[in-house]
Symmetry: C2
Subunit: 221 residues, 2 copies
DNA sequence: CGTGATCAACTGATGCATCAGTATGTCCAT
DNA sequence: ATGGACATACTGATGCATCAGTTGATCACG
């Protein structure tokens, strides 16, 4: 990504990504390039760049000479993204143990407190943002922000599943419990405990799909 | 990546990537778009696509309105790629343990035998290809070829360091020894042993840079 | 009615001229 | 000698017309 070339393109990508993962633009929906050009005030080449970028994230499907659509949710891709996320969370947590992590552990504790005040189904967006912050802090602590951004760039399928699950069930207290276990193991400086807690959390975080697919079969590949 | 659009683009990317990682195109070298267009027989837009792709892999640096150069070797990026690789190798190895891995373990054993016949400094390209195969087999076994391709797409800096190290020292017997330990732990079905062997291998594989940088300081960021 | 062929409208990809920014060389002042 | 200003050549980005392929509607035939 190249800021001088891509400033406007990135804004378009961010906006469309949010609308796709927020299910404002639904799976299978056709995207009209002329309409997008007009909406975002850019011409064909930068819009093409933006759509190719989104295609790389698995969020849109460009059919040459034909049309561009919001991609259907691909469970295999979601699974791969989940494996990647788990692998990196495990590795980063071990690196945090070897790092000067005092300030990070403090910041993570503050996140836990804020999360504790948001338990329940009502403030899920805020809780979700804190969830992200809890994990991002670890990546930042060990200088791996770019790897975090990479996992996020591949999380479109997962994020859409999460979005569809939002109203279906409340798992905030379970997430908080897992986060607390991770934090405690990091504070204790226990490599095996950290590995176990992270793996446990990321394994439990695999989102259920069956019921969602029954309600919206056309959303899935 | 979109085959119908990108068939020719991918060929260009593959060729240039090989030349960059093989140090035929050296760090800092200016790439002339008109010359590349003529060489590969394509016009500005697909060549632009190819160069943007290579930029995404960290292999070229596109300076808007100015010029495009082969990227300097970035040690931080190399380190991140190495962390990613280690994390995924660890995760994939654990997945292999849970999989029906008989044929894969057999194929890996065959690779070990071929590697044993290539010890020493003379057939490093062939040894390297087998090294890749040894790891790729595990990813394929658990359906994670795409994640393997992702690690490779981020290995440009590492691969160039390896290339520069090729003539400097012979580590083939050490690599083979590590591979044998990984294979043995997989055969034994020992999760902890697998984790230890993979981590050991990937930690030992971090390539030395100091002497290379002294010989070719202009190659490094 | 079902199937296949044809055609026109539509879409994304490409080619290329123009635009926007960069880099270098030259000249001048200190 | 050094630094700044300026002009010019060069580069990559963009805009837009054209090209290449897709899709859906219509028609003909069995």
């Amino acid at each position: 990504m190249n800021d001088k070339r891509d400033g406007k393109v990135e804004q378009v990508v961010d906006t469309l990504r949010a609308e796709i993962t927020g299910l404002v633009l639904v799976p299978g929906q056709v995207l009209s390039r002329p309409a997008l050009q007009e909406r975002f005030g850019l011409s064909s080449t930068p819009l093409r760049d933006a759509l190719i970028r989104l295609e790389g994230e698995g969020l849109v499907e460009i059919r040459p000479q034909s049309r561009t659509t919001v991609s259907l949710i691909d469970l295999e891709a979601a699974h791969r993204a989940h494996i990647l996320r788990r692998a990196l969370d495990m590795e980063v947590a071990q690196l945090v143990l070897s790092a000067d992590a005092g300030p990070t552990l403090d910041a993570m504790a503050a996140v836990l407190e804020r999360q504790a005040q948001l338990l329940g189904p009502d403030d899920r967006d805020a809780f979700d943002a804190l969830d992200t912050e809890f994990h991002l802090l670890q990546y930042l602590c060990v200088g791996m922000e770019e790897l975090w951004r990479m996992t996020q760039a591949r999380s479109g399928h997962i994020n859409r599943i999460r979005r569809m699950n939002l109203a279906a069930r409340d798992n905030t207290s379970r997430i908080l419990e897992d986060h607390r276990a991770i934090h405690a193991a990091l504070v204790a400086g226990d490599p095996a405990g950290v590995a176990q807690a992270v793996r446990h959390h990321l394994t439990r975080s695999a989102n259920t799909v069956g019921p969602l697919r029954e309600v919206n079969p056309s959303f899935f590949r």
